[in-house]
Amino acid sequence: MKRRVWLAACGLRLGILGLGLLLAVPVLTISVRADQAAAKPQASSPKPAARLGIGRVATPDEIKKLDIDVMPDGRGLPDGRGTAAEGQAIYTAKCQSCHGANGAGGSAERLVGRESGPNFNFATDPKLVKTVGNYWPYATTLYDYTYRAMPFMQPGTLSSNETYSLVAYILALNKIVPEDAVIDQASLPKVVMPARDRFVIDNRKGGRVVK
């Protein structure tokens, strides 16, 4: 009982994300073990759901609803389309109260701005503000993040068309795509972000070096 109370307190302290991680780790562990069990038919232990007496196998429909990740190259982008004009109306209704008119000046992160210093020197210039326009390496991530996490108080409520429209609007405000661009599954992965070549592959291999 004491241990449970501690876990609950810890979850509150770390916030919802922390609690999610605490819960997610055992679930991931179980699924890995399930795969290992499936690979070895001679294993005598029953499937985790039966062994632990909890849960059931997720249905394909349930997995599809959660399988919303979009890769940098565009894999995972759904059907649908949108334009900046459509996005502007949605932005005004659902985004502007936090992010400000035209993607700047609100209480939440600034979305629009191309100021990046001579060398995109974010590590050394504390005055530079990271925006979608000057920092994000892939336009596809804007779809993933917006669809997954926004609006802040109602994540998961945007349709694919609404999300494509908002992406078109933010990219147009940043002058990365033309104002009349149609953003969809085919066009979004082709958008080249200004900071794209400023990122390097993580070459850390572990060991004592701090990078």
């Binding site: 501690w6 562990t29 590590a123 050394t124 572990g206 701090v210």
Partner: protein
């Protein structure tokens, strides 16, 4: 990172208390976690709770004697590749003064003389 004692906990009196927390690494298992109760001057190895699995949260714990007065608690994780969690100074020197993302430096909690616990950043 130490999750107990942590704000808004209050140590009710001098004596033996347990420091607890979680450690994790993106490059494998946690090999060890050291605890300092004197702001990083001296370190002692914590006990790791099983299971210790790659990339998973690993619980650690260590009893410490609070003698009253101020004490600065810190934890330092080392993974199986030998990477040790850096101090804030070391991390800033490696990455630049305006760096902000992926801040994995050692965090500190300060126990005040009245037993209350406050976040102390990289101390």
């Amino acid at each position: 990172m130490i999750t107990e004692p942590a704000f808004p906990d209050k140590l009710t009196g001098p004596g033996w208390w347990e420091v607890r927390g979680i450690a994790w690494s993106g490059r494998g298992k946690i090999a060890k976690v050291d605890i300092s109760v004197d702001g990083g001057k001296t370190w002692q190895p914590a006990k790791l709770d099983e299971p210790v699995l790659p990339k998973c949260h690993t619980r650690f714990r260590l009893p410490f004697e609070w003698k009253g007065g101020e004490a600065t608690l810190m934890s330092r994780a080392t993974d199986e590749t030998g990477y040790a969690q850096p101090t804030l100074d070391v991390l800033m020197a490696a990455r630049g003064p305006a760096t902000a993302y992926h801040f994995n430096h050692i965090r500190a909690w300060k126990v005040l003389a009245d037993g209350s616990v406050k976040f102390a950043g990289g101390a």
